[in-house]
């Protein structure tokens, strides 16, 4: 089991979600983050004060997948999130000891295999 953590541009999120959908990767978790890399810093100015914004808005994806899915997941992200401009982001692949699905208590492979019978919020 692997946990794939990707930092991408916010305006690439929809594209990445679509690409992952096509790659049949279903579950994932998203959070807004701020990144610092080689990007040009933004400068803001408030009354007499000038401010350099060192951090850029990014989006962080966290996707638990079984080994079989790692490659295509990474590929999907790389493909969809790339613009070629500095600031596109990074993908980290981490090993996971085990995964539990809270609803059913299933573990590992089972826990990340979609089972969309029934549906609720």
């Amino acid at each position: 089991m692997k946990l794939i953590v990707a930092i991408i541009r916010p305006d690439k999120l929809s594209d990445v979600l679509e690409e992952l959908y096509r790659a049949k990767v279903r579950g994932l978790t998203v959070s807004p983050v701020q990144g610092h890399g080689g990007e040009l810093e933004k400068v803001e100015t408030y009354r007499g004060m000038t401010v350099k914004m060192e951090l850029q808005e990014k989006v962080r994806l966290e996707i638990g997948v079984s080994e079989a899915f790692v490659e295509r997941t990474v590929k999907a992200i790389l493909d969809a999130a790339q613009t070629g401009q500095v600031g596109d982001g990074k993908v980290f692949v981490l090993s996971v000891d085990n995964v539990h699905r809270i609803r059913t208590g299933e573990v590992d492979e089972q826990a990340v295999t979609p089972m969309s019978e029934g549906a609720a919020v």
Binding site: Q34, K42, E44, T45, Y46, T50, V51, K52, M53, E54
Partner: protein, 427 residues
């Protein structure tokens, strides 16, 4: 604005004293209308994405400065100084001759106050257009545009209807600006949206309102301010002011009810954005009619006027026309619907002008002519203005900058700064 030209002339002949009551009400009304422009900023600002909130607000607030000054220096004269059927003269340029004695068009209130009251109309009309070009237009060209537009497009049309021009002489009824303000701005908005072009994400991404509460705040304050817009257009604390006021309360109430019914029929969900929109459409629609129709007619007018705007808003978002905040559907269509309905519902018994029920069956046609005349001029003049401007200064920034958001790129600020990762640059 309530008096037709001949009556105005009659009034002018006998010198009348400034009336404290009329002045008090026009003072209040002017303040109320001025407040509408910040209110519009919030109405619009709530509907854009948070990365463009300041730009959107500034498009309204800046009009208070740019158009406010332009109006005092020249616009008022072009609209209200004696001139031809097409445009006023320059007698009042730089406010010469605009003093504390009674205004020619409203002898019981100081001339200078009448000028200011009219100025608040010019300010908001220009700001209305911004709804069609938010989230993409450059700010410098926008400022130049609204300044010139207020002189070249707004002032002449105001003259046509209220300043002694051809539409007023024709007998067109426009109590507080259904045609001058709303049809005019709605058409200019379409032209501006076309010339400036659609947002890069338009039709491809979901562009969600970042703060619907601001849209409601704006709608609430607009309603409040609109009492000055319509009520103040009686130019005195008169029965007509009361009538215009009450209609400005009842018509939008009816539009709101109708809008909620339509929402609920369509999708079983009554939306807050819809409610805010419905209120504004009702206010727009009653504007030309306010002092000419009775309160029950106002309820009818408000309910009926909801329909065209409602469905055009639904339809517009499926087209390629990125009139982003539906200025055309709300103001252009709402204003035209109101102007036509004024031609149907005006009734002499309410102290204004004669309508079809009083035998003046030609009124509807006159109203349509006024709408078309104003729309045609607004379309052509706005197009020429923007095209010429575009030659001297690009109207947009790059696609990448649009992605970052105009607040940072154009204004060097964020609406809601968290402050994380912000480093002070020591001077």
């Amino acid at each position: 604005m309530a008096l037709p030209v001949p009556m105005l002339l009659a009034v002018q002949e006998m010198p009348v004293e400034i009336s404290g009551a009329d002045t008090a009400w026009l003072l209040v009304s002017t303040a109320l209308v001025l407040l509408m422009t910040p209110a519009l900023g919030f109405f619009y600002g709530g509907l854009v994405r948070s990365k463009n909130i300041l730009n959107t607000l500034m498009m309204s607030f800046a009009s208070l400065g740019v158009v406010g000054v332009a109006w005092a220096l020249l616009g008022y004269s072009l609209a209200f100084a004696p001139g031809s059927a097409w445009i006023g003269g320059t007698d009042y340029a730089l406010l010469s001759g605009v003093g504390l004695s009674g205004a020619p068009a409203a002898s019981t209130v100081p001339h200078v106050l009448f000028m200011a009251f009219q100025g608040t109309f010019a300010i908001i009309t220009a700001a209305l257009i911004s709804g069609a070009v938010v989230e993409r237009m450059r700010f410098g060209p926008y400022l130049v545009f609204i300044g010139l537009w207020s002189l070249v497009v707004y002032a002449p049309i105001a003259h046509w209807v209220w300043g002694g021009g051809w539409l007023g002489s024709l007998g067109a009824l426009d109590f507080a600006g259904g045609t001058v303000v709303h049809v005019n701005a709605g058409i200019a908005a379409v032209v501006a949206a076309l010339v400036v072009g659609a947002r890069q994400d338009y039709g491809r991404r979901a562009l969600l309102p970042h703060n619907v509460t601001y849209a409601l705040l704006g709608a609430g304050l607009l309603w409040f301010g609109w009492f000055g817009f319509n009520g103040g257009s009686a130019l005195g604390a008169t029965e007509t002011a009361a009538l215009a006021f009450v209609n400005t309360m009842l018509a939008p109430a009816a539009t709101l009810v109708m809008w909620m019914i339509l929402d609920s029929l369509r999708d079983r969900k009554i939306t807050a954005v819809g409610a805010a929109t419905g209120i504004v459409v009702g206010l727009v629609a009653v504007t030309p009619a306010a002092g000419f129709i009775g309160p029950v007619a106002a309820i009818v007018l408000g309910a009926v006027a909801a329909l065209p705007s409602y469905f055009i808003i639904l339809y517009r978002s499926r087209t390629r026309l990125d009139d982003s905040l539906d200025v055309f559907a709300a103001h252009g269509v709402g204003g035209a619907a109101g102007a036509v309905l004024t031609g149907v519902l005006a009734a002499e018994v309410w102290g204004g002008a004669a309508g079809p029920m009083d035998g003046n069956t030609g009124l509807i046609l006159t109203q349509i002519i006024a709408i078309l005349g104003a729309a045609a001029y607004s379309a052509v003049a706005t197009l020429v203005l923007l095209k010429v401007l575009g030659v001297f200064m690009p109207l947009r920034r790059t696609v990448a900058e649009e992605g970052v958001g105009l607040d940072v790129v154009l204004h060097g600020e964020e609406g809601y700064a968290k402050g994380e990762g912000a480093v002070l640059v020591r001077p």
